[in-house]
Symmetry: C2
Subunit: 444 residues, 2 copies
């Protein structure tokens, strides 16, 4: 099967069959397809779309391009959560210990940050010694031992996705629902899960800015997960403002430890609320709880008892990190960092926050990556003090930049301030944290 023929078929708006999609994915994996042929087909797929059969075939071929984890020797149900990415989105570090403490195994393969979004692996690496580069054997061993493990995608998991994602990023073919679904699900299905909960973000700091796009993506993800025998649900959550109190790697881990220590303050509440919402669904899907309410009370118990914190401590030890942060989270904060206040230029109500600008600002001073190869400064970040709907007085603190020097603060200070759109009236829209949910019952 010549690549040209397969490309031409999709180019002309026809549907590809399973054999053709397999030929494509194995050609990508073994290098028989040149990158320029792959990107031509990706563009044809982007423009022409994929139907459900094609999307499933693509997901399956990408999944089968690599290893599928074997957890047959783990008795507990296995579940994971995946987020489409946002600013200050740190729920993985709370959900994994919560759910593990309730008896669910969580084999969580995560990613790194790029652009304005953070990545769980980067956050974890702000814990001294924490190792996210686990072999498959180590990964499984840690899941078995402490209930969850957090690691990067090895070369063995969906290698086709690694190649395709790099090409999509360079060729403006990222924002395609079927391609996103195949990319996410090929990795998640390799975890051999019983249940999967997706956190699809929408709003000014999300990949899917429009609610309808997020809903379509959520539905496609659920449809695909369930088609492959994984009980899958999605929550559409608000990313019109950073999630919780902190943005920035060490600062976000600090927030998580505070929450796991039951030291949640008002500004951290949304982080906890979303974590519980997602975790509760995981437990129900795994059959650990009957209802969401039942599930939430179980979660509340392991949080209050300190069992979740203990799980986190155990995991940090298993992954060679400095577990003392569980007792003294302030260890995470760099004493040499400079804190610069961002002040409101006028009085008014916060009507909107350009969340992408906040994420991009933190990236710009080293908290994230502009390019894949950029190094990260774990200490820098931003503390959110005001949310949408809050009233502020001219000169009042909107937030605090954690940086290395005043030059960095000057570089981004104005942009951070301008990210807050102030109006004379309280905004009509409330931006509920949980905007919608797509259950497996609703999926086709």
């Amino acid at each position: 099967m010549r690549p040209q023929n397969i490309i031409a078929k999709k180019r002309d708006g026809k549907n590809l069959n399973g054999e053709e999609i397999n030929a494509f994915v194995s050609g990508v994996t073994d290098g028989k397809w040149a990158d320029y042929q792959t990107s031509a087909l990706l563009m044809a797929m982007f423009v022409g779309g994929l139907n459900a059969d094609e999307q499933n075939a693509l997901t399956e071929a990408m999944l089968n391009s690599g290893e599928i984890l074997d957890f047959s020797d783990i008795e507990q149900p296995k579940a994971d959560k995946h987020s489409t990415g946002g600013v200050g989105d740190k729920t993985s570090l709370i959900i994994a210990p919560l759910v593990a403490a309730c008896g669910v195994a969580v084999p969580m393969i995560s990613g790194r940050g790029l652009g304005h979004t953070g990545g769980t692996l980067d956050k974890l690496e702000s814990i001294a010694g924490y190792n996210v580069n686990l072999s498959t054997a180590e990964f499984k061993e840690i899941v078995k031992k402490c209930g969850f493990a957090l690691a990067g995608q090895t070369a063995d998991i969906a290698p086709a996705d690694k190649k395709l994602y790099a090409l999509r990023d360079a060729t403006a073919t990222v924002e395609s629902i079927p391609l996103i679904v195949a990319s996410i699900m090929s990795k998640k299905l390799a975890e051999n899960l019983d249940a999967l909960v997706l956190d699809v973000k929408t709003g000014s700091g999300a990949f899917m800015r429009e609610f309808d796009d997020a809903k379509n993506l959520a539905a496609a993800l659920c449809r695909t997960g369930n088609a492959f025998g994984v009980k899958t649900e999605a929550v559409i959550s608000d990313m019109n403002q950073p999630l919780g109190k902190f943005v920035g790697n060490a600062l976000e881990v600090f927030e998580c430890v505070k929450i796991l220590r039951n030291e949640t303050d008002a500004q951290m509440l949304r982080t906890l609320e979303l974590s519980i919402e997602l975790a509760a669904r995981m437990l129900v899907l795994c059959g650990i709880a009957e209802t969401i309410e039942d599930s939430k009370s179980k979660i509340q118990k392991v949080l209050e008892s300190g069992a979740a914190l203990e799980k986190f401590r155990q995991n940090i030890e298993c992954q060679n990190g400095d577990a003392k942060i569980c007792d003294a989270p302030e260890i995470l904060l760099d004493k040499n960092s400079v804190e610069v206040v961002v002040k409101a230029a006028k009085s008014g109500f916060v009507n909107a926050i350009d969340t992408l600008a906040i994420g991009a600002g933190v990236s710009k001073i080293g908290g994230g990556r502009i390019k894949v190869e950029d190094a990260i400064d774990y200490a820098v970040g931003y503390q959110c003090e005001k949310n949408i709907g809050d009233e502020v007085i001219a000169g009042e603190t909107l937030g605090v930049i954690f940086c290395r020097n005043n030059a960095q603060a000057e570089l981004i200070g104005e942009k951070m301030r301008d990210a807050y759109k102030l109006g004379d009236e309280k905004p009509a829209e409330k931006f509920e944290l949980i905007m919608s949910a797509v259950g497996q019952k609703h999926s086709e």
Copy 2:
């Protein structure tokens, strides 16, 4: 300007401005765009199309990626002919000497064969010693000296086109009118012509099988040529059967020399007829003749007087070829070739000919290239004995395969025979050689 932004714009159905198209073409030329980015944009252009402004901007950028020939020291008007390619299409070798003998300079940059279509350069190289690899200086010198030169595209002429064409061929983005137009015209405009006549083929052996597609391509080519100040006309000619008597490199040169020697036989007539039609339009566009009739009588004169043959001889000498073929064209025929007759399996009228199959058959035994790097056997080919509308009796000769051994004849014999669709009735359609013409007056 990031490639991704330009790709995304076209992907989303928007029009690119001149600056964006220039950034693309210079990125392709200097290697700043990766091949996979280029092919993604080519696919987006293929699917989304280009409007007239974009097409002109692309043509201009590709033209300006290389050298534009300077013929300011040549007094005669300069004209060229370009064909979209077919089977047995050998008119360049007749037109160039005819037109040159009438006082027009013909700086003809030609191509090589690929797939079922032949290439002028390959045909010329079947003349012992003939050199098509000329420097720009040599090329110009030969045009000046004998009125025409035939050479390959140097690295200096439209280098962006070379890269783009290779990528299009590998990524199923060839058959796009705006991309074809930019490719053809960027090279032809580099010849700094006064006039250009295009031979757009249509039918079973043509790139554009459908008449309407051919007509659209012809119109787009004329529009572009005239927009750049070159008087451009197109003829749409029939490629539902091979043109003239022979298919195959040396055999086609043999046919041309026979025609230039006024030894045209019945089966060669269509070759001569099309050559005169195209040449006549070149003379009118150059102002050498007032009307097509006037032009045709001038051409008839230089043909009958032997002046055109002398021009060809002079050119062969200039390009280091063996000019004795002008006196003894049979030198071109390989005495060691085996001639195997293809016979009709039943009686009937030739209703259709699968011209592509004939061209592909000749390629298969070495007369053309399956892959770009294939070597050519100049001696092999095919002699056409029957045309559409002819009556044949079972066992009668349809054509003759010129090959190296019987194994080759067996390899393609059946396919050559099956290329002739025989019916009980004479076909209704006549397939006129000249199907339509698109004049510069008709173009927008």
